[in-house]
């Protein structure tokens, strides 16, 4: 929404502020100004000049020399423009002045273009005659301006040499652009904004008084209106205008429309646009002679019906689209666009004006289905006040008469069954003060209501709001009106009192923080990736057709296939990011992410899915499987999970290297997995290095984590270390050997550390040599040789069962 200063002043005559003052004050009273544009920006020393004489340039065929009267004197200007003639009145920028743009149009330079006297092909030129583009505008807004030529003031202008040309063109004006919030439908109109401006600056608001009695005839003899679907059309006003005389509308109307960004066309079109801007009420003009049966019927379209709109496009309709019909055919899509068959043509004689109120939601959805959002539909979809329709249609007829555009027929055909009313809201000033934390006197509050057209019923202690303020429903709404005119800045600044609360974070949050810390201190940086991805991810990760991970939640209206399912496993995000790094030639990269996966309980969804927080790590370069394994163990240690972790290489993880993968088992349950990425998956992600990944289910950690370590004392009895060197089949996992040692070593075995592993020439093929260092210690006495020997014997016995032989 935008408004022009000159137009606002028509309704708030005493408004006298700078563009910046206006912007600031309006923003603080709730009508947010996004930005403003001064139409005379970079226009300096530009006057009306009259061309007295034109001569050929002696040395250039395409240039002429003009003697120009600029009021106080006569100057000489050389120009290449072809459309100048003796006697023409033109805008002239004088020596040292400025214009806004180049003569071809296009984006305007920040500081404009400075014009100086000079010589053109040896002939003195003391200024420049301007095209409309040089004045920062275009033919869209000054349709009378020539293409590629100097702007020439026509008969509509009462100007003489030396006058301010910028003034004459109506460019001493400001356009403010607003962000209007959806609750303030009334502010999508110049009058609505003007009312707010008047209230904000404490000035008088003088709205137009629409009066158009029309001739002796009666509109009802011309037309009848029948609303078949009153739920979608709460009101329909129709008036007739005959003897239409199309002509350009007056300069003031053209200028206001142009400055608002609407191209002037002719008086009839301009009037409907003008009223739409002024009241926020869209109007439509039908060619009455094309309306069959003197009838307007408002009814839903048939499924599959087609209709040609006035832009010449064939539209496919459905049962939820509301149509305007005559006695025989459809003549318009209600609230969106009229039909080709009834549009205004050059030879139009009689016009049917429509000012109606259609259901906002229906218009919004219809416009979207049709892919046809128009100025009118954009207004309707916000939900208009049907009470405006009568005023607007009368205003249009008033302008028709004033501008000599035609002859309004008397009376309105108005179908309006259920009148929309404002609300009565209890007014308790003490409650408002208590709610705002203020101490505003009652009279002050009441004084804010008048300019907004709120009435105060002192007896009932109620405020009665106008029908265009459907956002006003309860006391909190009144409090906001009081607050914004009292000034948010004037409300005190306090801190909540009352019972204090103990803040803090959840246990899960704490575990996540630990995960972040451990990952970071192990060299991983935090990544963030999207929660939705492509279903192609499953193929990229080599998941079989029947993999449960393929049961993913689909987004009904995704931004495309690449963002169409909610992730059921977390790898794609990290792998895509690693791939980005690899392809940008980053030598190594280590990333982690903490994010949810979404596991549906049933598909299609009948209830909310499980959201499971995952701790996912991945890297390439600078490490191997055991580096990653170390990170996981470090994490488990930090969350107090200090029992033994085991690793199951027989896990089903198709995306991992079959010989380098493991589930992470804690307390008998899988809490995550790790491994080297399957080389085929590396290829799919275009990563030319070995990638290691790990994933831990945070919820499983939350169940087991503890931040309450217990000190178990420091044992001062001496430790005894025994080394154990074994030969064992290559197929036996170190984990199994460790399990045997630990379980047989019992309480006396303090630790067991693998310090050497060897395969090669001195070892039988198919076997490996493993050397462990075992530390024994008792809490309460010095161990005897016998105790140690017994433990060692038990261990050796168990190892024998694994086929291990003690080496020499």
């Amino acid at each position: 929404m935008n408004t022009v200063y000159s137009w606002l002043k028509a309704y708030v005559p005493d408004l006298d502020v700078t563009a910046q003052e206006y912007s600031d004050a309006m923003t603080l009273s709730g009508t947010k100004v996004e930005y403003y544009t001064r139409l005379d920006r970079n226009l300096e020393k530009i006057v009306v000049g009259k061309i007295l004489k034109i001569e050929k340039h002696p040395d250039a065929d395409h240039l002429v020399i003009c003697q120009v009267d600029i009021g106080e004197k006569q100057i000489q200007i050389v120009t290449g423009a072809a459309n100048v003639f003796e006697g023409a009145l033109v805008p002239v920028v004088l020596d040292g002045g400025k214009v806004a743009g180049g003569h071809e149009g296009g984006p305007l330079p920040e500081d404009g273009i400075r014009i100086h006297s000079g010589k053109l092909r040896g002939v003195k030129s003391e200024g420049m005659m301007c095209s409309i583009e040089e004045l920062g505008s275009s033919r869209d807004y000054y349709p009378e301006a020539p293409e590629n030529g100097i702007y020439i003031f026509g008969d509509g202008f009462d100007v003489k040499p030396g006058d301010d040309a910028v003034e004459a063109l109506g460019l001493h004006d400001v356009v403010w652009e607003y962000e209007i919030t959806s609750n303030r439908v009334d502010c999508y109109s110049v009058l609505g904004i003007a009312r707010e401006a008047a209230a904000t600056f404490g000035k008088k608001f003088v709205p137009p008084v629409p009066e158009a009695k029309g001739n002796e005839e009666k509109a009802s003899d011309y037309i009848s209106v029948d609303i078949k679907d009153p739920d979608l059309c709460s009101r329909y006003c129709a008036r007739i205008v005959k003897n239409i005389r199309l002509a350009p509308s007056p300069q003031w109307m053209q200028r206001r429309l142009a400055a608002s960004g609407i191209r002037p066309i002719n008086n009839l079109v301009d009037i409907t646009n003008y009223v739409m801007e002024e009241y926020g009420q869209p109007m439509h003009a039908y060619n009455y002679d094309q309306i069959a049966g003197k009838k307007i019927i408002v009814s839903r379209a048939q499924d599959g019906e087609t209709f040609e709109t006035l832009d010449g496009q064939e539209r496919k309709l459905d049962h939820d689209i509301l149509m305007i019909r005559d006695g025989e055919k459809a003549v318009g899509i209600a609230g969106i666009m009229g039909g080709e068959n009834s549009k205004i043509t050059e030879d139009v004689h009689t016009v049917l004006f429509e000012a109606a109120c259609f259901d906002g939601t229906n218009i919004r959805l219809s416009a979207r289905r049709l892919g046809l959002r128009t100025e009118a539909s954009a207004k309707f979809e916000k939900g208009l006040d049907p009470n405006t329709a009568q005023e607007a249609i009368d205003r249009a007829c008033q302008l028709i008469e004033e501008l000599g555009c035609g002859e309004a027929v008397g009376g309105t055909v108005d179908v309006y069954k259920k009148k929309m009313e404002g609300h009565r809201i209890p007014f308790r000033p003490e409650w408002i003060n208590h709610f705002l934390g203020t101490n505003i006197p009652e009279e002050t509050m009441i004084s804010y209501f008048g300019p907004l057209a709120f009435q105060y019923d002192a007896k009932a202690r109620e405020v009665i709001t106008p029908s265009w303020r459907q956002d006003m429903k309860q006391e909190a709404d009144l409090a906001e009106e009081v607050a914004r005119f009292y000034g948010y800045a004037n409300i005190p600044t306090t801190l909540p009192r009352g019972e204090s609360t103990s803040g803090g974070i959840s246990f899960k949050h704490r575990v996540e923080n630990t995960a972040r810390e451990v990952a970071r201190f192990c060299g991983f940086s935090q990544a963030m990736t999207y929660s939705f991805e492509s279903p192609k991810v499953f193929d990229r990760l080599l998941l079989p057709e029947n993999a449960p991970e393929r049961q993913a939640i689909q987004i009904a209206n995704p931004l495309g296939e690449d963002f169409s399912i909610m992730r059921t496993l977390p790898l794609n995000g990290i792998l895509t990011s690693l791939s980005t790094n690899y392809n940008r030639r980053n030598k190594d990269a280590a990333l982690f992410e903490l994010a949810n996966i979404y596991i549906p309980k049933a598909l299609p969804l009948t209830e909310l899915p499980d959201e499971r927080m995952q701790f996912t790590l991945g890297f390439y370069g600078g490490g191997d499987f055991f580096t990653m394994k170390g990170v996981i163990e470090e994490f488990l240690d930090q969350v107090g999970m200090r029992e033994r972790v085991t690793y199951d290489p027989n896990c089903n993880r198709p995306y991992l290297h079959p010989g380098r993968k493991a589930d992470v088992i804690y307390g008998g349950e899988t809490i995550g997995y790790l491994g080297e990425l399957h080389p085929a998956v590396c290829d799919n992600y275009e990563i030319g290095e070995r990638v290691y990944i790990a994933n831990i289910d945070i919820l499983k950690i939350v169940e087991r984590a503890s931040y309450e370590p217990i000190f178990r004392g420091i044992v001062n009895f001496p430790a005894v270390t025994r080394d154990l060197s074994l030969t064992v089949s290559k197929d036996i996992a170190a984990g199994d050997i460790e399990t045997a040692i630990l379980s047989e070593g019992g309480d006396l075995l303090e630790s067991c550390r693998l310090f050497d592993i060897y395969e090669g020439s001195q070892i039988q093929s198919g076997y490996k040599s493993m050397a462990y260092s075992l530390t024994f210690r008792a809490k309460d006495h010095t161990l005897s040789d016998e105790e140690i020997q017994n433990a060692m014997n038990r261990i050796l016995e168990a190892l024998k069962k694994l086929g291990a032989q003690l080496r020499g």
Partner: protein
């Protein structure tokens, strides 16, 4: 006679110690004079020839000499040790300006750094940090927030739907409702989390981003409290000189509603490129919790009032750390992350 011998031995020994350059040499001297076959032992062996009544006296003299030599040996040892340490240290001199051997530590995501700041500020004020579901029902995301079916605000937010009633939350505001349903006032909470809107990816938009919702419900909570709390938040987040400005705005779930601007933390409010010359930067939306919202969540608006606010986490991160393109936040290029 013996006294002369002892004197001679002592002088000899001391002279040799003087010349000794290292520990080995000192050891040789010890063996030569104090050892089993050393000079002093020889003297003692020669006692056989001494009259028995003179022996104690001689013995004393020998022991005296031994003690003296031992003492001198000890001193010489210390001197040599200290000399050797000096020499070693001189040899061990390093160039301290050579590069450091760093343990590679990773970096936090800028969103996380900003979030931790916000969490620190609010937990310090007694707020709980809570979370809610990212896949949410229409009820919690819209209806319970005073956004009924067909409300234009639903369109404005370009919602991703899963089914008619289940969607990807477009705002963290729904967490308010969950908390109000589960807890009795006083409530002070913030709820950070992912939200989703159907915006195409560009320098300022992302279909997935983060918000932090805040909610305070208690008796006698006022708009003035809202202003005071958020002004304090702004000072803690952007610096003690930060000023705030509240502008009226509209959110369906608060009334009155406001947007809060802070003085540009780059230029201090004078106007610069960062604040587009305005001196102010828009930071968050807020307002008094709408009575309809309280009622729907089972809280009596006559007894309790409250305020709520919502902050865009990415917005804070982009502004605070001067990141000029939102896409960088989701690419995870380590050359980007390493700067945080």
């Amino acid at each position: 006679m013996i006294k002369d011998t002892l004197d001679k031995i002592r002088q000899e020994a001391l002279a040799k110690m003087e010349e000794a350059g290292d520990m080995d040499r000192l050891n040789e001297i010890r063996v030569a004079y104090l050892g089993k076959k050393g000079e002093l032992t020889k003297v003692l062996k020669g006692m056989r020839d001494v009259a028995p009544e003179d022996r104690p006296k001689i013995g004393q003299m020998v022991n005296g000499t031994r003690a003296e030599i031992e003492q001198k040996l000890e001193d010489a040892k210390k001197t040599i040790a200290s000399r050797e340490r000096e020499r070693r240290m001189r040899a061990e001199k390093i160039d301290v300006t050579l590069p450091a051997k760093r343990i590679r530590v990773g970096h936090s995501h800028p969103n996380t750094i900003a979030l931790e700041e916000v969490e620190r500020i609010f937990t310090g004020m007694g707020y709980q940090v809570v979370e809610g579901p990212e896949v949410e029902t229409d009820y919690y995301n819209f209806e319970a927030l005073n956004i009924p079916a067909n409300h234009p605000a639903k369109d404005e937010q370009d919602t991703f739907y899963i089914t008619k009633d289940i969607l990807l939350r477009t705002q963290t505001s729904g967490v308010q409702v969950h908390v109000m349903e589960q807890q009795k006032p006083p409530i002070r909470m913030i709820a950070p989390g992912r939200v989703f809107r159907a915006d195409e990816v560009d320098a300022t938009h992302s279909p997935s981003f983060h918000q932090i919702e805040g909610l305070v419900i208690d008796k006698d909570i006022t708009f003035a409290d809202l202003k005071g709390t958020l002004a304090e938040f702004a000072r803690q987040l952007f610096g003690p000189d930060t000023k705030v400005k509240f502008r009226p705005h509209h959110f369906p779930f608060t009334e009155p509603s406001a947007e809060m601007d802070v003085t540009c933390f780059k230029c201090g409010g004078k106007g610069c490129r960062m604040c587009k010359g305005e001196g102010w930067i828009e930071i968050l939306g807020c307002g008094m919790v709408h009575p309809n919202v309280l009622r729907m969540s089972g809280i009596d608006p006559e007894e309790y009032t409250g305020f709520a606010f919502g902050v865009g986490l990415e917005r804070i991160a982009l502004l605070k750390y001067e990141i000029d393109d939102m896409r960088l936040l989701y690419e995870n290029d380590i050359r980007f992350l390493n700067q945080f």
